[in-house]
């Protein structure tokens, strides 16, 4: 089946120690991401309560909620990769068989690793600029931007780790290319 959406079947943890360790780290990242989204729900509700029920002013909540959701997205990337939750179109892989499909899986994973490494490198640079130069947001709260920007190197770093683990799992044949049946 060519997939439009994430597979409903949860991916099982590997027997290889490296792959399993990375999968465990990704699962923890998933927990953190889910908790950040939940925190954003509560914070938004708190903001509405203060504004409409207590008639108070809300200054910091909107910005914090946005940063929480951005961080949840970036930190959640490895977890979604581990769960095969990133949507893809596998028309070409389905049309291929055996070694050619395997080779394509290696190529696509290598491409993913390359672009993630680029995002990690420049994401780290961006974070480092914000940290070294003391950048703050333009709002009244003047949030030090290195804090939310930290999710860039952290998220892409963890995603890179998960993608490498996926490549290892593929090379040691503990997983099939694209998770498709042979």
């Amino acid at each position: 089946m060519a997939s439009h959406a994430p597979s409903p079947v949860q991916r099982l943890k590997s027997e290889n120690i490296f792959v399993r360790t990375v999968q465990n780290i990704s699962s923890v990242a998933g927990w953190c991401s889910a908790l950040m989204i939940l925190a954003a729900v509560f914070l938004t509700c708190q903001m509405i309560f203060i504004r409409f029920v207590l008639n108070g002013s809300t200054v910091w909540q909107t910005e914090y909620v946005v940063f929480l959701v951005i961080s949840a997205t970036l930190i959640g990337l490895p977890f979604v990769q581990f769960q095969r939750g990133h949507v893809n179109v596998d028309l070409i892989p389905l049309a291929l068989k055996g070694r050619v499909r395997f080779a394509l899986a290696i190529v696509t994973l290598s491409l993913s690793i390359a672009i993630t490494a680029i995002m990690l490198f420049y994401g780290y640079e961006h974070w480092h600029f914000a940290w070294a130069r003391g950048w703050t947001s333009d709002t009244v709260t003047a949030v030090p931007l290195w804090i939310p920007y930290l999710s860039l190197p952290l998220g892409f770093g963890l995603l890179l780790l998960q993608l490498i683990a996926d490549l290892v799992a593929l090379l040691i044949k503990s997983e099939t290319p694209f998770g498709l049946e042979a």
């Binding site: 089946m1 994430p6 989204i37 997205t73 420049y122 939310p148």
Partner: protein
């Protein structure tokens, strides 16, 4: 290189990369990085993480995970089955009552969950076996649910509409309202076809279902009302000026989660974690594509591709309706292969200037685009809903499900034609509630 030629090259490379099985978000980043390096130099890569982050830096995007939590909470309960039961008991005297109650349940569940596959699964699990038991033809039983499920991305609150709103900087409130009447029109068309096809199948016994006492009819209502109440409350808060879509979505998410835990007795912490996990997966997946598409559209704009296409279309001097038909054909074809969110994010920045230059309303176009995406959900080769139905009713062949869905595709095409002839179906309600767009 000529920007138009470059645009064609970007299009071909994007299709090839995306079809190779790489995830959509990563694929968009790969294509963007490749073209930026070749035509703008290595230094342009420095901007990618900043653009990626900046694209997510929007309070409007908060509504996506919130509405997804709402949908997941509802989908994890018996709400779908209760809704189905309630409608079946209340509509039992209507000709073709069962298929009508299925479609009605699909429309209501779609409004509550905002997800097409979740709607198919929730209503189909109850509806398809019941219709087959009563002797409805397999094609109608499965096709109606597959088509009914697609309403999830049109009837508000719809995540697809939020994504369009964010991508095109259009009011999400207006977009939600624009989906109401076209959604109802589609349900009516689906119902009309189902009744006709059932009647044509020759088995008039199907038209009459078992009868229910008033007691049976009323006893099912309390189980349905909490979620319906939340949806009405959310929509009231949004249009009553109480809160923004993101804020109301957050309250809706908290209420739906509470209702799932308290009323549907979802005490098991693992099940609650499961809701959060599924919501996180879907939210991160969509938000990742949004951010990557932001980088992709920066690349298009930086290489002057978007501007050149819009200028080129402007010089063609084609009839706007010929243009609209071409856009529709393009969207249907792309929708066959790519998920709605990806199509909207990639196509909207290119198509919107063309559409507005030709004099079409962007709110109206959102509805047209969404119906095109609905067609993709029940058409091969990807057709997610077809596979969801196949999973629920494995005894029925994919071919039968597909053939059963085709008349509903025709209904959607008819809806697009009706919307072109009578654009007010989509634009009247937003203007009546929120005033003319500025």
């Amino acid at each position: 290189m000529d920007p138009l030629l470059l645009g064609a090259l970007v299009g071909i490379c994007t299709i090839l990369v995306l079809f190779s099985g790489v995830s959509v978000g990563v694929g968009l980043l790969v294509v963007s990085a490749g073209f930026l390096v070749i035509f703008d130099g290595m230094r342009s890569l420095e901007l990618m993480p900043e653009i990626f982050f900046g694209k997510l830096d929007s309070f409007a995007l908060l509504s996506i995970p919130m509405f997804i939590i709402m949908g997941s909470s509802i989908a994890s309960t018996r709400a779908g089955a209760d809704l189905y039961e309630a409608l079946e008991r209340w509509l039992t005297r209507v000709p073709g009552g069962l298929v009508i109650s299925n479609l009605g349940a699909c429309a209501l569940f779609a409004a509550m969950s905002g997800s097409s596959p979740a709607t198919c699964a929730a209503i189909g699990k109850m509806g398809i076996p019941e219709m087959l038991k009563r002797g409805y033809p397999e094609g109608i039983a499965t096709g109606s649910i597959a088509a009914g499920g697609t309403l999830g991305i049109l009837i508000p609150p719809s995540v697809t509409m939020i994504v369009y709103g964010v991508a095109t900087e259009t009011s999400i409130g207006r977009l939600f309202l624009a989906g109401v009447f076209p959604g109802l029109m589609l349900v009516s068309l689906f119902m009309a076809w189902s009744i006709y096809a059932t009647w044509k199948s020759g088995d008039m016994a199907l038209m009459t279902a078992r009868s229910y006492s008033w007691r049976e009819k009323f006893e099912v209502l309390p189980r349905v009302l909490p979620f319906v109440g939340i949806i009405i409350g959310v929509l009231y808060a949004m249009y009553g000026g109480v809160a923004t879509p993101s804020e109301t979505a957050a309250v809706g998410a908290l209420l739906c989660l509470t209702v799932a835990i308290v009323i549907y007795k979802l005490y098991d912490i693992r099940k609650i974690w499961n809701i959060l996990q599924e919501s996180t997966k879907e939210s991160v997946m969509i938000l990742f594509i949004i951010a990557a598409a932001g980088v992709f559209s920066y690349m298009l704009s930086s290489l002057s591709i978007t501007q050149s296409i819009a200028t080129w279309i402007g010089t063609l001097d084609v009839n706007p309706w010929v243009l609209m038909i071409s856009v529709n054909i393009f969207l249907i074809i792309v929708g066959f292969f790519l998920p709605p969110v990806a199509v909207i994010l990639m196509a909207a920045p290119i198509l919107l200037p063309i559409i507005t230059t030709a004099g079409f309303d962007p709110i109206w176009f959102a509805v047209i685009l969404t119906i095109n995406m609905e067609i993709g959900l029940i058409s091969p080769p990807v057709g997610l809903n077809l596979y969801v139905i196949n999973g629920i009713a494995p005894d029925i062949s994919l071919r039968t499900i597909l053939m059963g869905s085709l008349p509903f595709v025709a209904c959607m095409l008819l809806a697009i034609v009706l919307l072109c002839v009578f654009p007010g179906i989509a634009t009247w309600l937003p203007e009546a509630v929120m005033g003319p767009a500025l």
